[in-house]
């Protein structure tokens, strides 16, 4: 039996197993009703619903846009006040730990859902489970992240926009910082490697996917400590802009021709590059970052126990995330790579020639170079607090230039303690 034939057989058998695994599936035909969702990405829901309704025309998917920054609080308030939750709740990686800690979720590995965790990439499972290792959310995508770069600035300051050459030019962060200093010199301090220290934080934090918590103790040194160290190095080198991420100035930076690199997970082009550069004024490139690829972000779909339409909610999740049609719609309509192992045995599925990247097959970077190496930090209920406190420290770093790693780390610990007095941080 040839290897290719074996792969095809495995692919088909996995699909058959997936479709046959749930009793819901056999009853799916003829289902009629409405499924409610809260999701900040209304466009995604609209596109996927259009495709879903071709197969299931009698199921209405009704989305209420809720900003991701307000999401965890809205869920908490609803649970506390007894307000009705939607049938599907989204869990962004930043607040997922907080809401997964609530005992309100359906175990999707149990009947009648029967999700098979082996069908998904193994590295994602810790981000889809609660503290009792129950799968309570289905991850939407592979969140492999590389470095997106402005090709014209790369030619201008590095003499090339070839990804391979650039990758070879900056194999480590030290080399990266050195190149950044060159850019600073060449541009008289007007061009930076990154627009914001927040970008640096995201990369360093996620390149080092150690668990935030070791039992009841926060591993501060292994997480925040390393992040702060790199940020201060770069800040001191003067190679990072002073913008704050997720602000209008940061959104505007994509076309400003002042910032060369952006951490770029699979969802980043869709959410940030495309909307902020609708005219494709910048041609982008993609490389593996110094220190390797990482996983950033991600959103799960969960069903709360209170849902009155669990069957239809699961049908929609399953169609989007576990079916070939759904995976195809995800990729073609929303540029979203579903993390179903079997899909990636098909070489054509890995191709992602994004128009904003000048025809570069960024799928090759994401799926061939980065995805096989991915590791992800397990979620914890302190993720949100960590993120908020780190945001304050990062914001302050640009104002308090005298802060070294130790001072910054002490400030971090003090702020975390301030929010969680009983927390032990090492």
């Amino acid at each position: 039996m040839s290897k290719k034939y074996f792969r095809q057989l495995l692919f088909l058998s996995t699909l058959v197993m997936l479709f046959a695994s749930s009793p819901f599936l056999t009853q799916a035909e003829g289902l009629k009703g409405k499924v409610t969702i809260w999701y900040w990405d209304d466009t995604y829901i609209k596109k996927m619903t259009t495709a879903f309704n071709k197969q299931y025309p009698d199921i209405i998917i009704e989305n209420t846009p809720v900003q991701s920054g307000d999401y965890a609080r809205k869920v908490q308030i609803s649970v506390a006040t007894g307000l009705e939750l939607p049938d599907i709740i989204m869990g962004e990686i930043g607040f997922r730990g907080k809401i997964f800690d609530l005992d309100i979720w359906e175990n999707l590995e149990k009947r009648p859902y029967n999700f098979n965790r082996k069908s998904y990439f193994d590295y994602l499972i810790p981000t889809m489970t609660d503290s009792k290792d129950r799968v309570v959310g289905i991850e939407q995508s592979i969140n492999a992240a590389g470095l997106a770069y402005n090709r014209s600035l790369a030619i201008k300051y590095f003499g090339t926009d070839d990804p391979k050459k650039l990758q070879a030019m900056m194999p480590t962060w030290d080399k990266f910082i050195a190149k950044g200093k060159e850019v600073k010199t060449k541009s008289n301090g007007s061009v930076f490697m990154f627009p914001s220290l927040d970008d640096v934080e995201m990369i360093i934090l996620n390149q080092n996917p150690v668990s935030l918590m070791k039992g009841n103790v926060m591993n501060g040194t292994g997480t925040a400590g390393k992040v702060l160290d790199m940020m201060i190095k770069m800040r001191n080198a003067g190679i990072v802009g002073k913008l704050n991420a997720w602000t209008p100035a940061w959104y505007a930076s994509f076309t400003s021709e002042k910032y060369i690199f952006y951490p770029c997970p699979t969802w980043f082009p869709r959410f940030f590059i495309q909307p902020n550069d609708k005219d494709k004024s910048v041609i982008w490139g993609m490389i593996m970052p110094p220190g390797g690829g990482f996983s950033w972000g991600g959103t799960t779909m969960s069903i709360p126990k209170s849902s009155k339409n669990k069957e239809m909610a699961w049908l929609f999740i399953k169609w989007c995330q576990l079916s070939q049609e759904g995976a195809k719609a995800n990729k073609e309509l929303c540029d979203n790579p579903v993390p179903l192992k079997t899909l990636y045995q098909d070489p054509t599925f890995l191709v992602d020639k994004n128009p904003w990247f000048g025809g570069q097959d960024i799928g090759e970077v994401y799926y061939k170079e980065i995805a096989p190496t991915l590791k992800v930090r397990p979620i914890s209920k302190y993720d949100l607090d960590y993120s908020d406190v780190m945001g304050l420290i990062v914001r302050s770093l640009n104002q308090e230039m005298s802060w070294d790693t130790k001072i910054a780390f002490d400030k971090f610990k003090a702020e975390m303690k301030n929010k969680n007095p009983d927390l032990t941080i090492r």
């Binding site: 609080r73 602000t247 902020n276 308090e400 702020e415």
Partner: protein, 588 residues
């Protein structure tokens, strides 16, 4: 064309019902259309008022929501700090204030974000999980904020503005509230601006204005915050909105024009205006069903009326038609007709009357025919008898001439009486059926003279006649046949001399004639026969060949059943015949 009574009545009934229904239907349609139009307009007004009220409530909610931050400790802390230990201290202060604002946002879907303007003049915007301090600091220079500041009011809504977020342009209306420290209430230390999503309100208005052809929400400066144009009058309403010709100072007003109705509401205390436009086409379309309802009502009522009235009309007209048909038959000479009507009303009485009338007609015609026949017979007999008496009269005159020449007075006397009787017989045909009582007495006396020569000393006749009755009219030849019967069938059949008494007396308004004899009398069988309708006892040898039945029939013919003849008889003792006739006023 001759129409039957049935067709006429049904036609009239249909016409009356149709006219009545059309008239009442038209009136009711006009009346109800007016009511429904007013009601539809009132519904539109109420709906618009309700929308305006909802916006007022929402404004109040927003105000109260904003007020809830006034004394919040994180906000107060943010406002109070002008000196910070380090950047982290400042960032923390802003961060917690931002977090406090954010914590309430999930409860209000219409809030996009919030802006906190600090004592340093910087505007912090809680756009992300952190915040931004640049975007809104610059945005406050725009017209919407400058206009708001220019108003110098404590709080209120701003003009419309736009926020660009991740390439998306979002329409916003802001609500501003000055912030003060509790320990320095006289000084404004900062400001809160709540960014409200216009789309949220627009979606609400889109639902609320579903029944309108146009809907506009105008801001304080008449800027269009929401506009909807549908139907055939889009361009008209667009132009109206463009020129903003809503010239009324009333809080709620209706403006009617050729195309429809504009309803304007200015009740919102933030100078917002809501204008709805409903075209006449749409308004009348709403109440068009009334027209069809009335048409259905009219035709159903007509059908119902016809269904009820036609059988009733048939009940009335069918007997009339029957009567009419029967009358046609009767007028055609067919008397064997019987109409059967059982309506229990006047028509049944009419039918029975008709049947009785036909029966009577049959009877009278039959009797008339009989009388005519009898009359003809009498006339024939009289004609025959007129021949002989004239001849006999001439002959007897010759006999009298010769008897007188020869001096035989008996023959003269006898023949004279005989001639008188013959002359009376001639008079019957010449002078009618009535004669005076004295004429009748004279005939009897002539008859008696003759009979006395024949039956010498066999009888006597005694008269008892009221003198004043002698001139009264009685049926001609009524006495002589009776006297003749009394003589021949009573007195002469006895051996001894008989007596015949004739008396005529007045009995009130009647005349009573009695002929009594003391002859042999007769048994009851004969009496019954004489008084029955059959052609009974007849004097075969009487002068006029007229018997008692003839006299009886004549009396009945002339005077009706009330006047009749009575016979009493006792065998061997005699007979009494009594005739009572009305006293005739006429005299001869």
């Amino acid at each position: 064309m001759k129409l039957s009574i049935k067709v006429k009545i049904i036609g009239c009934m249909c016409l009356v019902v149709l006219i009545t229904m059309l008239a009442s239907g038209t009136f009711a349609y006009c009346y109800f259309t007016r009511i429904l139009r007013n009601q539809a307009l009132n519904d539109d007004i109420n709906k618009l008022n309700q929308t305006a009220r909802q916006f007022t409530y929402l404004s109040e909610d927003i105000k109260k929501f904003a007020y809830s931050f006034l004394i919040d400790s994180d906000i107060q802390n943010f406002l109070g700090k002008t000196h910070y230990q380090d950047a982290l201290d400042e960032n923390r202060s802003v961060y917690y204030a931002m977090q406090r604002l954010r914590s309430y946002m999930p409860l209000n879907e219409y809030i996009h974000s919030m802006v906190l303007i600090g004592p340093n003049g910087k505007a912090y915007w809680n756009v992300s999980s952190q915040y931004d301090s640049e975007y809104f600091t610059q945005k406050l220079q725009e017209n919407w904020y400058q206009e708001y500041k220019h108003k110098k009011t404590n709080n209120g809504f701003t003009l419309k503005y736009q926020i660009t977020e991740q390439g998306k342009v979002i329409d916003i209306v802001g609500y501003g509230l000055p912030l003060k420290r509790l320990d320095e209430p006289e000084r404004i230390k900062g400001e809160l601006i709540i960014n409200l999503r216009l789309d949220f309100f627009r979606n609400y208005l889109a639902i609320e204005s579903k029944g309108n052809d146009g809907f506009v929400w105008l801001g304080e400066k008449n800027e269009v915050l929401y506009a909807k144009f549908v139907g055939n009058n889009q361009s008209y309403f667009k132009e109206l909105v463009k020129t903003k010709v809503f010239n009324s100072s009333d809080t709620t007003s209706i403006q009617e024009n050729k195309r429809g109705y504009l309803i304007i509401n200015r009740t919102a205390d933030n100078a917002w205006q809501f204008i709805s436009f409903t075209s006449k086409t749409r308004l009348y379309k709403k109440i068009d069903y009334v027209f069809y309802l009335f048409l259905i009502f009219i035709f159903t009522s007509m059908a119902f009326a016809i269904a009820i009235f036609v059988p009733l009309i048939f009940n009335v007209t069918n007997p009339i038609v029957k009567l009419s048909d029967a009358m046609k038959k009767v007028s055609g000479g067919e008397l064997d007709v019987n109409v059967r009507i059982q309506s229990g009303d006047e028509l049944e009485t009419l039918g029975n009357g008709f049947n009785q009338m036909v029966k009577d007609l049959q009877k009278y015609i039959r009797r008339s025919l009989d009388n005519e026949k009898a009359k003809k017979e009498i006339e024939f007999k009289l004609l025959i008898s007129q021949i002989n008496p004239h001849f006999i009269y001439n002959t007897l005159n010759t006999v009298i001439y010769y008897a007188r020449r020869q001096g035989n007075q008996d023959i003269v006397k006898l023949m004279s009486s005989f001639i008188k009787i013959l002359q009376d017989a001639v008079k019957v045909s010449e002078q009618g059926v009535m004669a005076s009582l004295s004429q009748e007495i004279e005939i009897v006396e002539h008859y008696i003279v003759i009979q006395k020569y024949k039956h010498i000393d066999r009888f006597d006749l005694v008269w008892d006649v009221d003198e004043k009755l002698k001139s009264r009219l009685v049926p001609r030849t009524i006495l002589q046949p009776l006297v003749e019967n009394a003589l021949n069938h009573g007195v002469l059949l006895k051996d001894e001399k008989g007596l015949i008494q004739v008396s005529v007396k007045q009995m009130g308004t009647d005349m009573e004639i009695t002929i009594v004899d003391n002859g042999v009398g007769m048994d009851q069988t004969i009496i019954n026969q004489l008084l029955s309708d059959s052609d009974g006892f007849k004097s075969t040898d009487s002068v006029h060949s007229i018997g008692i039945p003839n006299i009886r029939e004549r009396i009945k013919f002339l005077y009706g059943n009330s006047y009749k003849m009575n016979i009493e008889s006792l065998q061997g003792a005699g007979t009494k015949i009594t005739i009572v006739i009305p006293l005739n006023e006429k005299e001869l």
